[in-house]
């Protein structure tokens, strides 16, 4: 497409003014704010500044606004929830090549197989008029990232070549826009030469340079995961996440429900979140998965320079230098950090912190909007745990595999992930168990049969039960780990399937007798032939009646009738609290079970469930997407998996 047109400065102003006057578009562009620049609505072409070095915030604010309404609902009729789309037609003028490239990167994330419809709508409705760089920001190192020029990703690109401007047409939309609104001339060979020259000399203007190519970033980061530099820098980190807020390639968000003061209507909003903030990984039970500042500080760089490159093939930094400007202690600049690290060595296995796994995507429709469902049965197991049977109102089966999870919504309160505890079924009914820990769970516990909830899912990867066929199975669960485990156990114990599997052992540990969930199932499993079921509790209060084992779940291992097991032909499935894995896996290893025969399901803060919001990340993987079920052999090299 790339055709080149020439335009005078005066005509360029007329072009912009014509776009503003037309009224079809919301015309935004780069404007001055004090000594800095920002994107904002343009009233006149003369407000437009194409000589800017860098804007305070990137144009991502127009595609992923800092606060964005995703859906609205009437609290009395929450099932008529409506997705709220921004239908504004917009033109953004002045985007520098690095911002254009950052946007293309965001496209890869947000327009993947689990497409974000809100983003898509904004993207479709926006025309990008980019601008070649005239002034280089002091902190920018775009020259080193090859993001100082862009060949694609714009509809029109403006280049100042001194005497006049050139317009590079990058799309059909751009072509029509220029034809309709601008008075241009054919660009001459001399014009083209000037443009080339301008771009060539641009590189020299960069004072900040990265000493290695982007290809080498992942290897340098892999080699230095345990380096002292993380702690040294983190000591001066304010944990303000300014670095992620101003970043054009950061896209993590938090989701909240906001309710009007009369409690009649509400909306679900999302807002920028930052992985430097402590609460970023906090789950309902209060557990924080990256507790130390060092871990959070490191995570940001790995995400940019290792995790996303492994997943998508590009370094998620475009060298704009905004984080360097924004960071008060000046520790956020990737250019400085990578240069420092590069001197400490590099490794070849760059994808060590990532696992390649195909994601099961079954859901259609708008990925963030829940389906309506009705609570059909409630059973209070104890003062903490409540069991629910839920029926999807559309009458379709949930279609889940054991190990998959659902996001349950209570409009006005929020959304939380729950492992499905019932086996796959042809009916629209499924079961979950809720332990009361936070706002959503406390409110859920008050629901009665007939009440409505929202359901998204099934989400994530479940167990591939066909690969378990012909094998012995050892199920080890602790605490609420029994919830998804029950789905799997009841599936394999189903008379229809039982024959496919060999010996089965179920080990289950709870904190105290009253916290044993699914007691009826447990009692039943104990009676099933060919199945060993052992239960233990950590402690038992004097008042409680318990005549079983007391001790951690690992104390049950000696009870396994080892003679019946060929360890190589045995699959072990472990689900429990973070602390449990290390010890149970040690027991399994002692039994001689190979790592690749061990499966785990991990808990993290799964918020969006579709690999976007970033909260559930374990190094390079998304628990909601590649997990929550993992093969231990694949995940064991991830430092954040078991801590």
């Amino acid at each position: 497409m790339n055709t080149l047109r020439a335009i005078t400065k005066k005509e360029l102003h007329c072009f912009v003014d014509a776009l503003i006057a037309d009224g079809t578009y919301d015309v935004v562009g780069v404007k001055a704010k004090g000594k800095r620049f920002v994107y904002g609505p343009l009233d006149h072409a003369e407000d437009l500044r194409l000589d800017h070095d860098v804007t305070i915030l990137p144009p991502k604010k127009y595609f992923l606004p800092p606060l964005e309404s995703m859906m609205q609902y009437d609290l009395k009729k929450p099932f008529e929830v409506q997705a709220t789309f921004d239908n504004k037609q917009r033109i953004i003028i002045g985007m520098h090549p690095y911002d254009i490239i950052a946007l293309q990167q965001t496209d890869v994330v947000y327009l993947d197989e689990q497409q974000d419809d809100f983003y898509k709508k904004r993207r479709d409705n926006t025309i990008i008029i980019g601008s070649d760089i005239d002034a280089v920001s002091e902190r920018s190192f775009a020259g080193s990232m090859n993001t100082h020029v862009a060949d694609t990703g714009f509809d029109v690109l403006i280049s100042n070549i001194g005497t006049q401007y050139l317009l590079t047409i990058g799309s059909e939309k751009g072509k029509q826009l220029v034809e309709t609104y601008a008075k241009t001339k054919e660009a001459t060979a001399a014009d083209l030469k000037k443009l080339q020259q301008k771009r060539n000399t641009l590189l020299e203007k960069y004072k900040q340079k990265v000493n290695i190519t982007t290809k080498d970033w992942p290897g340098v980061l892999v080699a230095n995961y345990q380096h002292a530099i993380w702690e040294e820098h983190a000591d001066t980190c304010l944990e303000c996440s300014s670095c992620t807020m101003v970043c054009p390639t950061c896209f993590c968000y938090d989701v909240r429900d906001q309710v009007s003061l009369n409690l009649k209507d509400g909306q679900r909003v999302r807002t920028w979140d930052g992985c430097l903030l402590r609460d970023f990984t906090r789950v309902g039970s209060g557990e924080v998965f990256r507790e130390e500042v060092k871990e959070r500080y490191r995570h940001r760089f790995y995400r940019k320079g290792n995790y996303l490159p492994a997943r998508y093939g590009f370094v998620a930094c475009v060298g704009c230098g905004r984080c360097g400007i924004a960071c008060l202690p000046d520790i956020a600049d990737p250019c400085n950090l990578i240069n420092e690290l590069a001197s400490f060595g590099r490794e070849e296995d760059t994808e060590r912190f990532f696992i390649k796994q195909k994601t099961t995507v079954e859901e259609t429709g708008i990925i963030h909007v829940p389906r309506s469902a009705t609570v059909t049965r409630v059973e209070h197991f104890n003062d903490l745990d409540t069991f629910f049977e839920i029926q999807l109102d559309d009458g379709k089966p949930l279609g889940h595999k054991p190990g998959q999870f659902v996001e349950i919504s209570l409009f006005g309160i929020g959304e939380a992930p729950f492992g499905v505890s019932s086996p796959p079924s042809d009916t629209p009914r499924f079961e979950i168990m809720v332990r009361t820990v936070g706002n959503v769970t406390s409110k859920l516990a008050q629901l009665k049969s007939g009440d409505k909830v929202g359901v998204r899912g099934p989400l994530g990867n479940g167990f591939d039960t066909t690969s378990f066929e012909g094998k012995n199975l050892i199920f080890t669960s602790g605490g609420t780990g029994m919830v998804p485990m029950r789905s799997l156990i009841n599936f394999v114990l189903d008379p229809k399937h039982r024959k496919k599997f060999k010996n089965i052992t179920i080990l289950y540990g709870a904190k105290q007798p009253k916290e044993i969930t699914f007691m009826k199932d447990v009692d039943h499993w104990k009676t099933v032939c060919d199945t060993q079921c052992e239960v233990t509790v950590d402690r038992c209060d004097e008042k409680e009646c318990w005549n079983g084992c007391i001790g951690l779940v690992t104390t049950l291992f000696p009870k396994i009738r080892m003679d019946m097991y060929d360890s190589k032909n045995t699959i072990a499935i472990v689900i429990g609290p973070p602390i449990m894995y290390k010890f149970v896996i040690q027991c399994l290893k002692t039994m001689g079970i190979p790592d690749e025969n061990i499966y785990v399901s991990l808990e993290r803060r799964m918020k969006c469930g579709v690999g976007k919001c970033g909260h559930c990340q374990i190094n390079g993987i998304y628990t909601c997407k590649e997990g929550p079920v993992f093969n231990y052999n694949q995940i064991k090299q991830l430092p954040e998996a078991f801590e």
Binding site: K33, G34, K35, R36, V38, I56, L57, K61, P66, L67, D235, T236, C237, L238, E239, C240, S241, S242, M245, V246, R256, Q258, V259, S260, L261, N262, L263, T271, W272, G274, L277, R278, D279, G286, I325, A326, L328, P329, D330, G412, I413, G438, N439, S442, K443, Q446
Partner: protein, 254 residues
């Protein structure tokens, strides 16, 4: 629908600006009255009842008679919410804690015969949680109307209000302000709890820390920033005097 929660509003030593922020909800007061029963609110109503579920308490505690009154409120209320900086952290009232109450008293009242008069029996200025347990906090000087609404709706829905535990910088960046440090000002935003939508920097003024500090002034990162901007510990101590005199804050509340 269940019975509406009964709400009472009380004030101690303060400017009553936070109560005024409730009046400043304008037409939405009508919505507020739809979801709660206001049973006591001395500033705007004559009626009063001691039967309430939620007490919104404004102001700092200065005297033994005030402590007694607050303890009574605590006894009656199922949920006690501290409203505004004077109540949540002591606010500007704590500036005077730099001196002994006797000293301030003597300076102020001179030779006037106030001894034994309980109206004049003044101790150190205290935040509410130095006298009674507080369930929730609505921070700010004054409170932010939207945050007030958010807390009230959360309580009416029976959910725990979520108040930011991150610094003002997060909101300031979202507002695309030029950093106050870049402008040569000394801003407490990096160590102050967000939730105010970074209103001061947005109007081109540095943050004074009215929502309380979430990091100690002595931490390594603060020292680093002070050094970088040629500020001293004395400077930050002085900056923190306005709202955070004598307060030792943890990095994050759990």
């Amino acid at each position: 629908m269940k019975q509406k929660p009964r709400v009472a509003v009380f004030d101690f030593a303060d400017c009553e600006g936070c109560e005024l922020q409730i009046a400043n909800l304008e037409e939405e007061i009508i919505d507020l009255l739809e979801i709660v029963d206001v049973v006591s609110f001395r500033e705007v109503m004559k009626e009063h009842s001691d039967q309430y579920d939620i007490a919104l308490v404004e102001g700092s505690i200065m005297r033994p008679i005030d402590e007694k009154r607050l303890q009574g409120i605590r006894k009656n209320a199922k949920i006690l919410v501290a409203l505004g900086a004077c109540a949540t952290i002591g606010g500007v009232n704590k500036i005077r804690n730099q001196w002994m109450p006797d000293e301030v008293m003597k300076q102020v009242y001179g030779d006037a015969k106030v001894k034994g008069n309980e109206l004049f029996n003044v101790g150190k200025a205290k935040a509410l949680n130095e006298v009674v347990p507080v369930d929730y906090y609505i921070h700010g000087c004054p409170i932010d109307r939207d945050e007030f609404k958010q807390v009230i709706t959360a309580l009416a829905l029976g959910k725990k209000p979520e108040i930011p535990r991150y610094p003002v910088c997060v909101e300031c960046k979202k507002n695309e302000n030029i950093c106050q440090f870049e402008l040569g000002n000394f801003c407490l935003g990096p160590i102050t709890r967000a939730g105010c939508k970074a209103i001061c920097p947005t109007h081109n003024m540095p943050c004074d820390g009215c929502r309380g500090l979430i990091k100690k002034a002595e931490t390594e990162c603060v020292k680093e920033v002070l050094e970088r901007y040629h500020l001293t510990y004395e400077d930050i101590r002085r900056r923190c005097t306005m709202y955070n005199y004598g307060r030792e804050e943890c990095t994050y509340d759990k």
